[in-house]
């Protein structure tokens, strides 16, 4: 065809001109030698000096096949046709500390200041399915998030917040089924119709074994509980995101961008397989699966990662599982700026890091975003620090002009080749995990855990040799010590009060109802039934978080990790 011929002649001309340019480049480099022998991304992917149209020809890039149009398969350019012109990303700041009352106040502050969704952080005892008055909870209550031990706490947490009008995301995994039951019970008490209950349960237990390490049960029963919530949510709460398959913690634990993407998508595939095994149809549940990625320092690598993520997932869903509903193909994602990139040294610099990372997430087409506060490497954030982080998003949205155009990096020779490279390396990992028998098996072998530990150690070594730079830590250190930031401290009284409230609750609740309902939970677990409804009944009878989890512990046992490094 003449068109094709002229295209290939054009490419030849570009190649020739490029060779000429490269000769000149050599001369220039005599005068200005490269600053480094090799230029790489944060994750050590080699970066070319320049990309040109012939690179895309060499890599076999096909615009319609590999990019297409926003809102259409394979969604490389985003999941909405008009992206942020229609609806901005959801600004969702993670919040949770001390008691339910205090977090409730923070929620109201954020909503008053233009935040559009709630995002709950729970403390370590809650994450581990322990009540605030358990001896193992000592010193941990309310420290890393809000303490929730019973439905009473959940009622306080959302008191005065109409749940039909906000979307709520909850970072909870091992005991996710119990916390979900508490949330649904509160929504029901508020009289919110089921189709108005919107939000996301993180509910991604596989990444706990891989990275975040807040687990309770062994892997298989834990996955069963995830499938229970997906099954129940899909049937009863049409706009509830049943799981948020999370790369964030994987990245924070030290993974590279490719490892983050590969392990997260492989976790997603494991849930899909488990749901299919349960007898669900792909297009019934896949539209409600959502994702959560980290957004780190390397600007281009991060944008490419989000673009590659959508393309890979869409193709897997369509080609591997035969999903027919476009909603099943769409990878919708939340993003959070990288906590691990923040420095305790010269903490105000973190505001700048967060702004750059937030830009990358938005240029990568995220659907929702949390921007870290500058003090999060020191403590939980103060109100002032949280406000700067939220304003950062609002400045990008309303002042920078970035939200007015869809995927401006699409078609960039460099961005498209980088997207392809990340896609290719991610698929190599996914195929490797497939060969091991899927992610559950890979976790049992310790494969992703070891890969991440290796990357974390490698990166630390690079910091020591200054091959990688952290401003204020291994370069441009302050001459004098930093002026300390005012940080948030959680008083010990939170733990004392929480324990006291819990013992009051145990005293005043009806004596028999929680026991009967817990017995029903146990029986249902023994029979392998879906546990959401029995747990909902127990929660409504004010059984505590730990009482429900202990009931399941007695059936499933507990997970133990061999402490390897």
């Amino acid at each position: 065809m003449p068109v094709k011929k002229s295209h290939s002649q054009e490419i030849q001309k570009i190649r020739k001109a490029k060779q000429e340019w490269e000769k000149q480049l050599k001369n220039s480099e005599v005068q200005f030698p490269p600053r480094s022998a090799k230029f790489t991304t944060l994750s050590d992917m080699e970066v070319p000096l320049l990309s040109t149209p012939d690179d895309l020809v060499d890599s076999g890039f096909d615009y319609l096949r590999d990019c297409g149009f926003p809102g259409e398969y394979p969604y490389t350019r985003g999941v909405q046709r008009n992206m942020y012109r229609g609806k901005l990303w959801t600004m969702r700041q993670f919040a949770g500390f001390a008691s339910a009352e205090m977090t409730n106040q923070r929620f109201k502050l954020l909503l008053k200041n233009g935040q559009t969704g709630l995002y709950t952080a729970f403390d370590m005892p809650t994450l581990m399915g322990l009540d605030a008055d358990n001896p193992r909870s000592k010193g941990e209550v309310g420290k890393c998030g809000v303490s929730v031990s019973s439905l009473e706490d959940m009622e306080t947490l959302f008191s005065g917040i109409p749940l039909g009008e906000v979307t709520t995301s909850m970072t909870i995994n091992a005991p996710a089924i119990v916390i979900l039951a508490m949330y649904l019970a509160v929504a029901e008490k508020q009289g919110v119709p089921r189709e108005k209950v919107r939000g996301t349960l993180q509910n991604d237990i596989l990444k706990e074994y891989i990275a975040q390490k807040e687990w309770i049960y062994p892997v298989l029963p834990a996955v069963k509980l995830v499938v229970d919530t997906i099954e129940y949510g899909t049937k009863n709460y049409p706009f509830w995101n049943t799981v948020s398959i999370s790369g964030y913690h994987i990245r924070e634990a030290g993974a590279t961008a490719v490892q983050e993407l590969a392990f997260t998508l492989a976790d997603g595939l494991a849930y899909v397989d488990a749901c299919l095994e349960r007898g669900m149809k792909i297009d019934e549940f896949a539209p409600r699966l959502s994702f959560f990625f980290d957004v780190h320092n390397d600007f281009f690598e991060e944008i490419a990662k989000f673009r590659a993520a959508r393309r890979i997932w869409a193709r897997l869903m369509k080609e591997r599982y035969g999903a027919k509903d476009p909603k099943s193909w769409m990878l919708r994602t939340h993003a959070q700026t990288a906590g691990v990139s923040l420095t305790a040294q010269q903490p105000h610099n973190n505001i700048v890091r967060v702004a750059i990372q937030a830009l990358a997430a938005i240029l990568g087409g995220t659907n929702s975003l949390h921007t870290n506060s500058m003090d999060e490497t020191l403590a939980l954030p103060t109100d002032d620090a949280v406000m700067i982080a939220l304003r950062t998003q609002q400045i990008i949205a309303d002042e920078s002009g970035i939200a007015n155009v869809v995927d401006p990096f699409g078609g960039s020779y460099f961005m498209e080749t980088l997207t392809q490279k990340i896609e290719k390396e991610t698929l190599t990992y996914i195929h490797k995990i497939d060969k091991m028998g899927g992610m559950v098996k890979a976790i049992e072998k310790g494969f992703p855990q070891a890969e991440i530990a290796n990357s974390a150690y490698h990166f630390q070594r690079q910091l020591e040799t200054k091959e990688k730079v952290m401003v204020g830590v291994n370069k441009y250190q302050a001459q004098e010590s930093d002026k300390p930031l005012e940080t948030l401290t959680i008083d010990h009284s939170v733990e004392v009060n929480q324990a006291q409230r819990l013992s009051e609750l145990r005293r005043k609740r009806p004596a028999q109802a929680h026991k009967d309902t817990l017995r029903q939970v146990k029986e249902a677990a023994q029979q392998g039934k879906n546990l959401v409804e029995p747990i909902l009944a127990a929660i409504k009878a004010y059984a505590t978080l730990q009482e429900v989890c202990d009931t399941l512990r007695s059936i499933y046992g507990e997970y133990r990790e061999t402490g390897s490094f």
Partner: protein
Amino acid sequence: MTNTTQTEQNKIRVLVAKPGLDGHDRGAKVIARALRDAGFEVIYTGLHQTPEMVINAAIEEDVHVVGLSILSGAHNALVPEIMSGIKKEGLTDALFIVGGIIPEEDIISLKKIGVHMVFTPGASLVEVVDYIRTHAPKRS
């Protein structure tokens, strides 16, 4: 020491422990590996250890150094209990190190109760290795 190579007997033994419910083990694992690479004998407890479990591990392994990694804010509750337990069991000369997110004022109070050193984010591996090499108790 006059001999050129360290024998197994006089290797410095370091316990790297993760007490409490905190799951952040990136730092502990990186440190454990760096200490091993530096020639120390490293015992890593794994996650979610109760104070009692850490005390038992320190005593059983008769370690020279106890390194506690805590990023959840529970250090004020956990560190004193572990330290006094280990001392009570007779390991009185051990070097106590804490690593993690520890606010300035807590570093002061931890040092008051006998923690020898606190490393916070940004500390280099070389710093930690050198500190242990210099300060670990010498036992015959």
